[in-house]
């Protein structure tokens, strides 16, 4: 039903966690996937090999998205590889840093906004020439954008910016047939969330949540793959919460 056969996809931050699960999910449904990574080349190659082993098409591409010109260079590489058409952009790459308000440095704040906000904004901008009717952009929001959880102040604000971007980009790009949505995960067991692996972290996450389990990356990837597909052709401007019912 939700086949992605013949579609081209770029997933940023795809060497591990939610990005990795998303790259695999898109490839399983038939998409050709560009597996972007920042520094984990071996892990990215492992994802590529896993996709190829399943009979899919994939290629790893690197870019340090904290650099101001990285989205431009990455977009140029994507055009070289896929040619004139990108069907799916999952701007998943992100960084997180927990710190009390007093201990948040200007450098950390700027780096969070560079990777989590500036990079997706300019990546969409630079890829617009090859996005078109039926293309789907999926951004990564967070439970933290909508509710106070942990000491993730600067990180949470970057995700609030993503929700704002979703609304405005959906309205701006709708007339071109390009859909823009976000997925807002709650606590997911990934490298980014060491918190979820501690007893205190698990107790906290389950305490604010309706379902009594911590999310795995696949729980998020399924929704991203749905949004990427033509099944979601009437869904745009939405942030879908995939958080087990956290802070309802």
């Amino acid at each position: 039903m939700s086949s992605l056969a013949g579609k081209t996809a770029l997933v940023t931050g795809a060497s591990r966690g939610i990005g990795r699960a998303t790259a695999l999910a898109l490839a399983q449904k038939g998409a050709q996937v560009l597996v972007h990574y920042s520094s984990a080349a071996a892990e990215a190659e492992a994802v590529v090999n896993e996709i190829r082993a399943l009979g899919g098409r994939a290629q790893a591409i690197s870019a340090d998205l904290s650099a101001a010109d990285a989205p431009h260079k990455l977009a140029a590489r994507v055009v070289e590889i896929v040619g004139g058409r990108l069907d799916i952009l999952v701007a998943n790459a992100g960084i997180s840093k927990a710190a009390p308000i007093e201990e948040t440095s200007v450098e950390d704040f700027d780096r969070l906004f560079a990777v989590n906000v500036r990079a997706p904004f300019f990546l969409v901008q630079q890829l617009l020439p090859i996005l078109g009717e039926g293309s789907s952009v999926v951004l990564l929001s967070s439970l933290a954008a909508h509710a106070a959880v942990g000491t993730l102040y600067a990180y949470a604000m970057t995700k609030g910016a993503i929700d704002t971007m979703v609304k405005h980009f959906a309205a701006a790009l709708g007339p071109r047939g390009i859909r823009v949505n976000a997925v807002a995960p709650g606590v997911v067991e990934t490298d980014m969330s060491n918190f979820a692996k501690t007893d205190a972290g698990r107790d906290f996450a389950l305490g604010i949540q309706a379902l009594k389990r911590i999310a795995q990356p696949d729980d998020i990837a399924g929704t991203i793959a749905f949004l990427a597909s033509d099944e979601a052709r009437w869904v745009t401007g939405d942030t879908i919460h995939v958080d087990g019912g956290s802070k309802l």
Binding site: S2, A170, A210, T223, G237, G245
Partner: protein, 246 residues
């Protein structure tokens, strides 16, 4: 991709429009489907026939959404027929578009009775049977969150109630492994809101994609939320409106 093989679904208001689209899609994905209807016996029979011709299983049950006994009996008949219940889709709803000051107490009672009380009654009946993995899927509206036009004050208030009902119940039944979600359609081309009607022009203008949605667009989201890939989504309001609320 038979996502819903061996699942049993009940779709209220399943004889036409969005409900009929949902019923056919869930059946196409492998579920056995019961639909309720109020007056459209022929239309309901036609939905059942289409599902059966496609190789699926379906039954139609007459049950007005405001009639608590009939709705509860419909849930029981679904379970008696198919052996269990996995998915309840609270789709039955009505709108009486009028300016608020012209809306009568009877209009108010009708909309609250079907859109809110009817959802409560069907859900209570279904919860007696839903097990771990069960799904309650409410059909709210994009106007449950954001308002584009006059004339839908009470209707929007009932859909806002559905939204908070969804979040409240999700918290309560989450520990049993049952998810509760609210799908919020924007303008969808149906008999009640035709894409060619007088009301259509401002609604199309409010969308980002510049057109009406199709019942299949809502049915696809219902099928996704009913399926295994959405097992971690609960208490969520999933808007399917072509960008109306953006």
């Amino acid at each position: 991709m038979a996502n819903l093989t061996n699942k049993i679904a009940l779709v209220t208001g399943g004889s036409r429009g969005i409900g009929a689209g949902i019923a056919k899609r869930l059946a196409a994905d492998g579920a056995s489907v019961a639909i309720t209807y109020t007056r459209g016996a022929d239309a309901a029979a036609q939905v059942v026939k289409e599902i059966e011709q496609a190789g699926g299983k379906a039954i139609a049950i007459q049950a007005d959404a405001v009639d608590a006994k009939a709705v509860t009996a419909a849930v029981e008949k679904t379970v008696a027929t198919f052996g269990k219940l996995d998915v309840l889709v609270n789709n039955a709803g009505t709108a009486i578009p009028k300016l608020f000051e012209e809306t009568t107490p009877d209009d108010i009672d009708t909309m609250i009775g079907i859109n809110v009380r009817g959802v409560f009654i069907a859900t209570q009946a279904a919860l007696k049977h839903l097990q771990d993995g069960g799904r309650i899927i409410n059909i709210g509206s994009c106007v449950g969150e954001r308002m584009m036009t006059p004339g839908l004050v009470v209707y929007a208030a009932t859909k806002g109630a559905v939204k908070m009902f969804t979040q409240g119940l999700a918290r309560e039944v989450g520990p049993r492994g049952i998810t509760v979600n609210n799908i919020q359609p924007g303008p969808i081309d149906t008999d009640l809101n035709p894409a060619a009607g007088d009301w259509a022009t401002p609604q199309i203008a409010a969308t980002a994609l510049g057109r009406y949605g199709h019942v299949d667009d809502i049915a696809a989201m219902v099928a996704f939320v009913a399926g295994p890939e959405a097992s971690y989504i609960t208490g969520a309001n999933l808007t399917v409106d072509g960008g109306t609320n953006a």
